[in-house]
């Protein structure tokens, strides 16, 4: 059986989760199986230089576009799936993967499981553990092959970056698909870190939905100032316009690794955990004792966050006056 591991990258950097997709495929491959990595983009050399944990690499190469629209990625992958007849396609849960996985499943009629955390293979079927309800429930499903799986970043330890032998690299010209596709890329906006670079911050106070309203963010902001920390928010806070996008932590925001991460009223959806679970010290405050944020926190408290902010602020203020 062939297992296709979908990989991504842009701006000369292969996404870290690419190596996780290969590792996941490798963990399921049996003796006669083949792990085939698929990459679409401009950095074919970068892919060849680090995706060597796969047996074979198929690169859909564009000399023009750094970021490949999901439509084009999917069209190219569809051709690969048709040609290779894999038993399993592993797609990262990424902005690109969201469009790719369901499209491939729809066109092939194969089953798709999203938010996958664990996979066990039993011959021609898999037992999958996937997240539901923002990580509050785990669903165990049995899936027959062939199938498409969308894997949570971080669910599998990454394969070791390693070059792949040139003889095992097959290159496809992506340009005809990019030219004929219905979705045309017209601009890429890279983040402007002039205001704040959360990825460089070593202390972060992050507010979640539990902060309640925009005005209350000032309380957390004052606490952050006293701690020498940057204020940040989870997706609902940013979506509500209470904090700017550059201050969002999570899958569609910034991936941070500070010395201190104080999460106030953050539930800890998988998308949020993906952005902050590598922090050195995580302190979570949430009145819901079952909030998933407590699964990654080093210290957790279930008190009212406003009471805590007030108490902490009083103590820090008193401490600074000594």
């Amino acid at each position: 059986m062939k297992l296709i591991a979908c990989t991504e990258g842009h701006s000369g950097k292969i996404e870290a989760f690419s190596l996780e997709m290969i590792a996941a495929a490798r963990s399921l491959a049996q003796a006669d199986d083949e792990v085939v990595a698929f990459f679409a983009g401009r950095d074919a050399e970068g892919a060849s230089a680090c995706l060597g944990a796969a047996d074979r690499l198929i690169v859909a190469c564009s000399t023009r576009l750094d970021v490949i629209p999901a439509e084009a990625y999917t069209l190219l992958l569809r051709d690969v799936v048709t040609a290779e007849s894999p038993g399993l396609v592993l797609v990262p849960y990424s902005a690109n993967g969201l469009d790719v996985a369901a499209d491939i499943a729809a066109r092939t009629g194969w089953p798709l499981i999203s938010y996958v955390n664990e996979i066990k293979r039993h011959g021609e079927s898999l037992t999958i553990v996937a997240q539901m309800y923002g990580g509050k429930i785990l669903a165990e499903c049995e899936v027959r092959l062939p199938a498409v799986l969308m894997i949570n970043p971080g669910a599998f330890a990454a394969a070791v970056p390693d070059p792949i032998a040139a003889v095992n690299v097959q290159t496809i010209d992506a340009e005809p698909v990019l030219t004929s596709g219905k979705v045309k890329m017209v601009a890429i906006d890279m983040p402007d870190y002039a205001d704040v670079d959360l990825t460089a911050a070593d202390r972060i106070v992050c507010v979640g939905r539990g902060i309640g309203d925009e005005a209350s963010i000032d309380l957390a902001r004052n606490l952050a100032t006293m701690l020498g920390a940057e204020i940040a928010g989870s997706r609902p806070v940013v979506d509500n316009g209470w904090l700017p996008k550059l201050r969002q932590v999570g899958k569609s925001g910034q991936k941070v690794k500070p010395k201190l991460y104080l999460a106030l009223g953050v539930s800890g959806a998988p998308e949020h955990l993906e952005g902050m679970s590598q922090a050195e010290l995580i302190i979570a405050v949430n009145t819901d004792p079952k909030a998933p944020i407590f699964n990654v926190a080093h210290y957790g408290a279930t008190c009212d966050l406003f009471d805590l902010v007030a108490n902490l602020s009083d103590r820090l203020r008193a401490g600074s006056g000594r």
Partner: protein, 254 residues
Amino acid sequence: MNILVVLRMIPDSAGELQLAEDGRSIDREWLDFQLNDFDDHALEEAILLKEACGAKVTAVAVGEGANRVLQMAAARGAEEVVALQSEEDAMISSREIAASIAAMARAKSADLVLCGVQSTEDVFGQLAPYVGALLDWPHVSGTNRIVANGAVLRVTQERGAGVAVTYELATPAVLGVQTASKAPRYVSGSKLREASKTPIGRATPELSGFERSAEIITLRLPVQGGSGENLGGNAETVADRLITILAAKGLARN
């Protein structure tokens, strides 16, 4: 432009979720159901597009409490509201409702289908790409800005880490909305009362074009709490303890 926007009612996962006796579903008896956040943004984006270019917006809702949310959609500016019947006490599988949404898009000559980029029940995949594939229309997920110029859409997609990519595509299309260009608007009580007169259409589901992805063998709660230390629920005690912890690590003075 005809816009079809999909509104899914899902369990409020901010509350406590209990497993049902069969071990394969959640106990829905005492659960609050709410509009999927991302679908709320899809509705807002639809109304913003209508205001910008004069589109007609049809809102289709599925799940428990659909009537209530459809009245809200009408109050926000949807011209037509339709409840898609769904199985009671069952999760909304995007894979299984995709055929119904695709059929409605065809029947209403929709130029654009909008839905939230995902829902917490999307264990079998996301709605926008399924509908896009069934209709063979281009689809883009994770959008946070949509601008229409006639039949041409400019769509901005979040790619993570602050990277945003803008695409151009022609209608018909399907878009999975991450965030609307503006936060979902507040609806006054008087508008809601007025909108309650809007007739709610009924639609019966189409047979799914797909086999079920899988049967759920069992649901379980994740192991809670990890290995972290529980500091309890008394704010004063927690604050004292945190100051000590932070001071020991050189992160604050005690």
